[in-house]
Symmetry: C2
Subunit: 455 residues, 2 copies
Amino acid sequence: MKKAAITLFLLPILSFAQADADSIFIKKMSDDILRNGKAHDLLRQLTKQVGGRLAGSPQFARAVGWGKFTMEMVAPDKVFLQQCMVPHWVRGGADLATIVEMDKKPFPKKLDVLALGNSIGKGTVQAPLLAVADFAELEKRKDSAVGKIVYFNKGFDPTNIKPFISYGQVGIYRRNGPSLAAKYGAVGVMIRSLTESVSNDPHTGAMAYNDSFPRIPAVALGPRDADEIWNLSRKSSLVVSMTTNGKFLPDTIGHNVVGELTGTDFPGEFIIIGGHLDSWDVNEGAHDDGAGVVQTIEVMRVLKAMGYKPKHSIRFVLFANEENGLRGGTKYALEAEAKKEKHIFALESDAGGFTPRGFTVGGLNPAQLTKMQSWVKLLTPYGVTEISNGGGGADIGPLNRLFSTPVCELEPDPQRYFDYHHARTDVFENVNKRELLLGAINMAALIYLIDKYGL
Amino acid sequence: MKKAAITLFLLPILSFAQADADSIFIKKMSDDILRNGKAHDLLRQLTKQVGGRLAGSPQFARAVGWGKFTMEMVAPDKVFLQQCMVPHWVRGGADLATIVEMDKKPFPKKLDVLALGNSIGKGTVQAPLLAVADFAELEKRKDSAVGKIVYFNKGFDPTNIKPFISYGQVGIYRRNGPSLAAKYGAVGVMIRSLTESVSNDPHTGAMAYNDSFPRIPAVALGPRDADEIWNLSRKSSLVVSMTTNGKFLPDTIGHNVVGELTGTDFPGEFIIIGGHLDSWDVNEGAHDDGAGVVQTIEVMRVLKAMGYKPKHSIRFVLFANEENGLRGGTKYALEAEAKKEKHIFALESDAGGFTPRGFTVGGLNPAQLTKMQSWVKLLTPYGVTEISNGGGGADIGPLNRLFSTPVCELEPDPQRYFDYHHARTDVFENVNKRELLLGAINMAALIYLIDKYGL
């Protein structure tokens, strides 16, 4: 009884002291990142010296070299590569499209398009246009789809406050639209780019063919061109042409780049933090996901700079091939399974280098979620006001599926993300240094808390 | 007792129903703003057709015409102008500066500079440079300031999470630096631009002379040029030249533009919402404060579109001359005093068109602050997670000083603000449509709640 009484008496004091020690340590990391952070300079290197780096490309191989070298400069306990086979899709040339005729008269008008990733080009395809609002309208008009180029007008619902909700709602048009149109005899597909941007830049991204139907070419239209096609098609018949050259070369070798700070108490228990090293070919992959890559390295840097010795092993993973195959994330999980490594937590940053607002987390029981949410007050000074139920990033999904590892993703402010996502505008200049560093601060703080207190 | 018991029983139910009605109404406004909002198009007009609009300039007069016309199109109960005299500072030509000599040898190097607003040009001034870290170092080296151009290197502290804290800490170098150097015989002043931007664009802004000392010219250096001057000056003696042509023309006529929705129950009690119509001359004044102007008009538009009949009169005010005189805000308050108008609340948006995060509020007693904070849960779906003690915008300061009117300011995410603030880069293209509209949604919601529940 006496002992219990003392414990009860001491508990709040210890807990205050702990919270204080944590906030002091987090502030030290924050100050160091804001004064000495390398993330922005590293992002300049990755975007300007390596550039766009689709899996399988020479640029991706260069990015692997850059990632390994850069991690080695930070000098964690280990740096190693994980080899995996990756798809090797190439765009094969410039993507073009034009309106050719309106109401059977010549009406030449160039359209700004990008072929969808993984789509197979057929050179130039010219055909009458069937413009539909959505899958439901295509279903109604399926008999008139034969021999046509089908255009899907479905766009984001602007009333969703979080644009990722919109992306979730209409992403299926990009992924499955081509095969759904091919099913009814269409010879090509155009979609409205998945964005609410006021500019006309088209947005590419992965699609996947259903092997039951012909592999027809598919492009995303710039949003202003999409408006025009849609408006013209309401009153007139259009003939359009599209030229694409996408193809798959044989699968080739890719790599995850992994750095490790080995744990002092539980070296065989792993905490993962990462982003994906690959990007689309049409831009510099600055927000998607150069930001996550350099934030991951920044967290490694600051933990080293603090002289922090983690209890668990922390792995810093730059994943291969998130965009069009997820082979890197899958490889990481399979390797972990083969080596019977215990993975207690995985964090990814793959929603852009914007000012941080929260974390989403999946695979936790209610007590674990409550525990994580009790840390929010430590993060609020740095912008994170919420830890909510949701998913982790795509690359750490396989870890969750194989081992039920809790997975988490940094949730930056999402309003600008789809201005740049998979478009030519995803370049270094559109990433703000302070916003990028603040993301890294919150990631470092969360990893520290997970390592210290577990879940 | 019986009545009290019933009240106690009903209270939570009523309060739930009320909260529900409020959240439904706010969602309706949000949907309408995100679907039909005009703020972004209006900002394009104001920035591209009117442009930079310093008080006293022909562009400012054009902005007044635009504001009145635009408000009349929304058709509130009243639209009127409030005339006031405004200062008329002109830049007078291109601002130039160069390093002329290093260690007594020619070392010609152009520097990117902007004269500080309100500074008086002297054509070209050439002199040896005295570079100091801060006022304390100038104080120590004051005897060597005679005949020199003094450079103040003081910049933002990057470890402040909120850059407005940094601005508060070092703004005095821009406002008072010139006269403090003139006191010790300096012939010109250069300051480090008040920004953490990674680009070299210089940032102007208002300074004020102390009439006890000579009026020496003053410029802000681009941040990269500031780095170079500072680094060179640590090892070498420099001679620099600066060319500025700023001057004051006689005070001229300016106007506040005011729209009003007249209250049904308390027409003589006013709620104010506003932004400032003037901007610096070197940019388009897109974030500062075109955003606040178009958000103000957007709130008027949506309340009209909802058919909302306010209980109190709501005034939508586009203030003249925030940047270099505050004559518009002062005029508004004096006019209110003369007409014995009761002002119960004033809200300004003057921190940029970025994604909203909170409101700061001043002049409330603790019960009023608690009441406002109870509304946060209604705003959180739209991004506002905090209502905290702080100031209102500059233009509504005179209302607070004269009448103790509670004053409030929208607090958008602040990380990018000082990349654009008073620099050439404050242009339409750097404002995101959704971020801008989300600010207007939260402003509309707050004004609705103030009107409905009072303080």
